[in-house]
Symmetry: C2
Subunit: 344 residues, 2 copies
DNA sequence: AGCGCTTACGTAAGCGCTTACGTACCCTAG
DNA sequence: CTAGGGTACGTAAGCGCTTACGTAAGCGCT
């Protein structure tokens, strides 16, 4: 078979520089044992020839990959695309490539994608999105990741815990707490929650924060109407419909992410419910459009892009005995979608 | 050196099936020259062992990569994230992996990313986003892609022409035309355009459509105020400010993409300019949030996700003598951001 | 002077696959 | 019964790199 590519190879560089393959390799890798003089010559030749190492050969020989696999639920969901942007930014700065996969919010498919990425020999796996309450699924993923890391891979989770790997985690509970407090401060007593799928840990955590805030003020959790749907705009619309129908006394809706909040706002608009005068709405995440909605959305800001970068940073460091947790800051951003509770 | 990975190799499969390496390879690749009986046995063994081919070794040996490189301006821009979603979907169905790069709307950096992807030996390059009017840049990219394709690579462009590769292209001119016509039908006479960077072909094309529509109705292009900024929300805000200040007679703003339209709406809201009663606004692309804005946005719908899929489909087909062009449909979607021109 | 140590480089053995080519076998035709 | 040709499989040569190990030269030391 003829050579597949016409690109210059390491031997070409070595020949031009009149050294051996090994020396050329060492020089370009910046490793010890090459005099600065020779190393400079080799680098010079490589530049002139436009030499770029073949990553396939390199990986095959060394066993060390330089590509990172990123699993998100959906890239066209702003929450995930902002995370992806952060990961890609940092990866690009580090000369790494990012292979991206969509799980479509399906735990089975996600596990399959994870296996696929590992089989493809990526060096780093980043997995984002909420975890699932399904213990079978989580332990399968955990086992897969553990085996992966035992063979020298590195993994980190974004916004997700309990996988036995390093994680960058927002304080979902505190965020939920802050939202509920904000609404209670405004005098709201009948609060409804538009929640994502019941099986998600993120949902459970954010909800727990909301409940605890109510409890602290002596409210009964029974005062809280929780409607489960899914973490999409469509899910938000559905949840809002149900809230309006089943809990007409509601004066404030906590959507557990911004996508749902957008759906909620959309339904309220079409049902001619004025926001915030008749109904306050809050979201969670602060995706970049949140500020441009009408009314602009009160929400909890998470630094998604930074979370992506941090996760990759964690994964680039050597593994520690116990998985690390990097908390992320969060911030209540008050905008125009919340206001005082209407007089009854 | 010890073996890098503990994963089963092809030799393991071959041994367990009591055949040679070559036969095992042939059987798993589904190539000729293996009796069905033996092939079945090999596949069976492979399954039992959980064998997955090492893509690095495979690529090194065969020279044929199975990863596609995708260049976008920014993944957290909904236009691009929807395209990316389409590409990733189809790639995943085909067992391909997607390596994604952000050019950050910088032609130099984009060229660099392109070179990097090619150096990384991806098999397919998809490049999206507008082209640049800079002939030096475009011809450098074109040359790079031509060389890449001559060495067996495949490339396709999304929403971008003149690169000498297959392209899936919306009819930007017709879209611009339709928007202008829609506004004129509503009685608008003083129309302003919030355009992206002047150097982009997409901007030129969409603008040309707008101008031609005006000309057909006997309007002078001088009636059209064109403000250049960039294709982001911030750019839309800036453009809107300038339009309000310098062209107060304007009753309708054509934003040349939805991101800018969102910025325009945001500025109008803060300046208390009612939409559409005092000012109509249209966008271009129909990103998924466009329908959820307040007011919902009149815009031209482009099938971004499908465009991503189509581009990959094109790239998976053998190259033709002349680059193919796949037009995409477009559709004027009338929503609440446009209305009759106010009486003067 | 001779010893060992370090330094700088070369040699060559893989990494796990694909594939050109060689070989054994069986079938059919002459 | 043998030549010719097809089929099924094995052998081995790479793909372009990394790296363990070998070697030769230079150094200081006793």
């Amino acid at each position: 078979m003829p050579r597949a590519s016409q690109r210059p190879r390491l031997v070409d560089v070595a020949e031009h520089a009149a050294v051996s393959l090994a020396t050329a390799s060492r020089a370009l890798a910046g490793r010890e044992g090459v005099s600065t003089e020779v190393a400079d010559r080799i680098r010079q030749v490589a530049r002139e020839l436009g030499y770029v190492a073949n990553p396939y050969a390199r990986t095959l020989a060394s066993g060390a990959t330089s590509t990172v696999g990123l699993i998100v639920h959906q890239v066209d969901d702003p929450y995930f695309s902002e995370i992806a942007a952060g990961v890609i930014q940092l990866a690009s700065e580090q000369g790494l490539l990012v292979q991206i996969c969509q799980s479509g919010r399906d735990p089975d498919y996600e596990l399959q994608q994870l296996r696929h990425l590992i089989a493809q020999r990526v060096g780093i796996v980043l997995i984002s999105g909420s975890g699932y309450d399904d213990p079978r699924m989580e332990s399968a993923a955990r086992a897969e990741l553990a085996a992966f890391q035992d063979h020298g891979g590195r993994a980190a989770a974004i916004g997700r815990h309990a996988l036995g790997v390093d994680a960058v985690l927002p304080d979902n509970e505190a965020g939920g707490h802050a939202l509920a407090q904000h609404l209670m401060d405004l005098g709201h007593r009948r609060i409804a929650v538009a929640a994502g799928s019941a099986g998600l840990t993120t949902v459970a955590d954010r909800l727990a924060g909301v409940s605890s805030a109510l409890r602290e003020r002596g409210r009964s959790p029974a005062d809280l109407a929780v409607v489960h749907s899914d973490f999409t705009r469509g899910g938000g619309r559905a949840a809002a419909e149900q809230i309006l129908n089943d809990h007409p006394e509601t004066t404030a809706i906590i959507a557990l992410n911004d996508a749902m909040a957008m759906g909620v706002l959309s339904t309220l608009r079409s049902r001619r419910v004025p926001v915030p005068t008749r109904m306050s709405v809050v979201g969670f995440d602060d995706v970049s459009v949140a500020a441009d909605l009408a009314p602009s959305l009160t929400t909890i800001r998470l630094p998604m892009t930074e979370m992506g970068r941090t996760a990759l940073t964690l994964a680039l460091k050597p593994r520690t005995a116990r998985p690390r947790r990097r908390p992320t800051g969060h911030l209540l951003v008050v905008r125009d979608s919340t206001g005082p509770a209407p007089r009854t």
